[in-house]
C-alpha cells in the first residue's frame, strides 16, 4: 500500500467510558459512531464503507441506518480494528468506497446485550486446552511469560514496573479509570490472579467503545480536524491456541505485522515519537518492544523499569495509561488507535510535544493475531 494516501478524519470514543449500566453493547457502537461522525462534520448518509468486529456489519449498519457498498467483519480479537484500518485504507485506494466508519463497542463490565463467548467441546481449543482449566484471558495470555523471563533474564520487578509507569500516564488522562500512583511493591503485593501475574498486571474490565472515520488524503484536507495519515500498516495471525505458538520467546504475528508496517512507512525506530503497544497484560509491551525491533528482548524489561517510557522520557509508550489503567472493554485495540490519533492531532491529555509519527501495535485473541498501524500528521 502506498503511504499517506488515506487519512483518519473522524475519531471519538463513547460519551462515557468505564461502567455504563444504561446502554447495550449495540447502543455503545452507535454512540461511538455518532460521536465520530460529529467529530468529522459528516452525516450518516456520507458513510459508504463499514467495518466492525464481534458484532456483525449488518447488525451495526442496520441499527445506525447505514447503507454501505463495502463492509469488513474481520474479527480476530482486540486488534481487529488495526486490521480494519489497513483493509479500509486498501479499499479506499482501490475505489471500493470513499468514507469508511469503523466501530468498536463492548459492554465488557455491565454485560448488556453482549454476545456470549464460548469454546465448543469439539473445537481444537475445546479438546486440547479447555480441559486443562483455562478460563478466560488471565489464565491463558500469561502462559508464555515465565519462559520469556527465563530466556531473557527478565525480573518480576521489571514486569511490575510496566504497570507503575502506565499509571503515571493514566494520572494525566481525566478519562482513565485508574489514576492513583502505584509502586512496584504495590503491584507485587496485589492479589494473585495467575502466577506470575497479579491484579495490577492484568487489564481492567470496563464498558465503552470508539469509532474512526477514514477517507482519501486528498479529501481529508476539507474536513474540520487535522488529518492523521496512514503511513504504514501490517497484519498477521498465528494460532488461536496459546500452547501452539512457535515459541514463547516472541510472537510470530508481532514479528510479521510490525516490520511490515515499518517497511511500508519507510521509517526507522529512531523516527518513532509515540508508541502504543496493546497491553492486556504486563508482558505485552516487552514482547512488542522486542518483536518490533526497538531493542533486544534482554533489554526490554530494564528499559521500562529504568523509566525510558515514562512521561517526558525518550520513548513515550501507552500514553493513555493503556489497558492496565485507562480502560479495557475486552477488545482494547480501538482505544490504542484513538490515543494515537489524539497524539497526532496534538490534543491528547498527555500530549507528547511535537510528535509527528505514532506507531500503534495491537494483539488479538491472546497471541493469535496482530495488527500494526503507523500514523503521521505530516503528509
Amino acid at each position: 500500500m502506498r503511504r499517506n494516501q488515506v487519512a483518519v478524519v473522524g475519531a471519538a470514543e463513547t460519551t462515557e467510558l468505564g461502567v455504563i449500566p444504561n446502554a447495550s453493547q449495540l447502543q455503545l457502537h452507535a454512540d461511538a459512531a455518532l460521536n465520530a461522525i460529529a467529530d468529522a462534520g459528516l452525516r450518516l448518509s456520507d458513510i459508504d464503507g463499514f467495518a466492525t468486529a464481534v458484532e456483525t456489519p449488518q447488525q451495526v449498519c442496520h441499527y445506525l441506518g447505514i447503507k454501505p457498498t463495502w463492509v469488513d467483519g474481520t474479527s480476530v480479537g482486540g486488534c481487529s480494528f488495526m486490521l480494519h484500518v489497513r483493509h479500509a485504507a486498501a479499499a479506499i485506494e482501490a475505489g471500493l468506497c470513499k468514507t469508511v466508519l469503523i466501530t468498536h463497542a463492548e459492554s465488557g463490565k455491565s454485560m448488556i446485550g453482549k454476545l456470549p463467548r464460548s469454546t465448543p467441546a469439539d473445537s481444537l481449543n475445546g479438546q486440547f486446552e479447555a480441559p486443562y482449566g483455562v478460563y478466560g484471558p488471565p489464565s491463558m495470555f500469561p502462559i508464555p511469560v515465565l519462559r520469556f523471563m527465563k530466556t531473557y533474564g527478565i525480573t518480576h520487578e521489571q514486569l511490575a514496573s510496566v504497570a507503575v509507569v502506565q499509571r503515571e500516564w493514566a494520572a494525566k488522562n481525566p478519562r482513565a479509570m485508574m489514576k492513583d500512583p502505584i509502586t512496584v511493591a504495590d503491584v507485587l503485593n496485589s492479589r494473585m490472579i495467575a502466577y506470575p501475574f497479579r491484579l495490577l498486571q492484568c487489564c481492567l474490565v470496563t464498558d465503552g467503545g470508539g469509532a474512526l472515520i477514514l477517507t482519501s488524503a486528498d479529501r481529508a484536507r476539507d474536513f474540520p480536524r487535522k488529518p492523521v495519515y496512514i503511513m504504514g500498516t501490517g497484519e498477521s495471525v498465528e494460532t488461536p491456541m496459546v500452547s501452539q505458538m512457535e515459541t514463547f520467546n516472541s510472537s510470530r504475528a508481532f514479528k510479521t505485522a510490525g516490520p511490515l508496517a515499518f517497511k511500508e512507512a519507510g521509517i526507522a525506530h529512531k523516527d518513532v515519537d509515540h508508541l502504543m503497544i496493546y497491553d492486556a497484560f504486563a508482558h505485552l509491551p516487552l514482547f512488542g518492544l522486542g518483536d518490533l525491533g526497538f531493542m533486544s528482548y534482554e533489554e526490554t524489561g530494564k528499559f521500562i523499569a529504568d523509566g525510558n517510557t515514562r512521561p517526558g522520557a525518550k520513548l513515550p509508550l501507552n500514553t493513555n495509561g493503556g489497558g492496565l489503567s485507562y480502560m479495557h472493554s475486552g477488545m482494547y485495540g480501538m482505544y490504542a488507535l484513538q490515543e494515537s490519533v489524539r497524539q497526532m492531532r496534538g490534543i491528547a491529555p498527555a500530549q507528547v510535544p511535537n510528535a509527528k509519527i505514532s506507531v500503534c501495535h495491537g494483539v488479538g485473541g491472546m497471541f493469535a493475531a496482530s495488527g500494526t498501524i503507523v500514523f503521521t500528521n505530516e503528509r
Partner: protein
C-alpha cells in the same frame, strides 16, 4: 444441582485416534511420511509440507516443562485453585497444554525445563486426558 463439570473434549473424525490412544494408555502423535515432521494437534495432513501421507505413532510420553501459569482466579469449573496450566514440550518436538500431577502447584516445585512423563486421567468412560508428572529417576 450438580457441580459444574470440567470441560470435556468431544473428538472429531480427525482427532478420534488421539482420544482412542489416551484411553488405551498411549500418547499418539502424527509424523509426515514425506518430510518426517512430527506435529500436534491432530490433522490428516502435514502442516509443514501439505502431504496427506501421514502416520500415527505412539510417542515416548517424555518431555519437559516449557512454561506455565498457576491459576488462582477465576477458576474453571471442576478445578480447585491454585492449579498449574502448563505447556509441555515433548521429546518428539510438539508442545501441548496439560496439567502437572504429583507435584505441588507452586513456583518452587514447578521448575522450568524439569523432565516430565505422561500419565493418563480418565474423565469418564469415553475420555481420558493426558496429563504429566515429574519424571522418575
Amino acid at each position: 444441582m450438580a457441580e459444574p463439570q470440567r470441560a470435556r473434549p468431544k473428538p472429531t473424525p480427525e482427532t478420534q485416534h488421539f482420544w482412542d490412544g489416551t484411553k488405551a494408555g498411549e500418547l499418539r502423535l502424527q509424523r509426515c511420511d514425506a518430510c518426517a515432521h512430527v506435529y500436534f494437534p491432530p490433522r490428516p495432513f502435514c502442516p509443514s509440507c501439505a502431504s496427506r501421507k501421514v502416520s500415527i505413532f505412539k510417542a515416548s510420553g517424555k518431555g519437559f516443562l516449557y512454561s506455565y501459569v498457576i491459576n488462582h482466579r477465576p477458576a474453571a469449573p471442576g478445578f480447585t485453585p491454585p492449579y498449574a496450566i502448563a505447556v509441555v514440550e515433548l521429546d518428539e518436538g510438539p508442545r501441548m497444554m496439560s496439567n502437572i500431577i504429583d507435584c505441588p502447584q507452586t513456583p518452587e516445585a514447578l521448575e522450568l525445563d524439569m523432565k516430565l512423563e505422561v500419565a493418563f486421567e480418565a474423565l469418564d468412560d469415553k475420555i481420558t486426558l493426558p496429563v504429566f508428572r515429574p519424571a522418575k529417576g
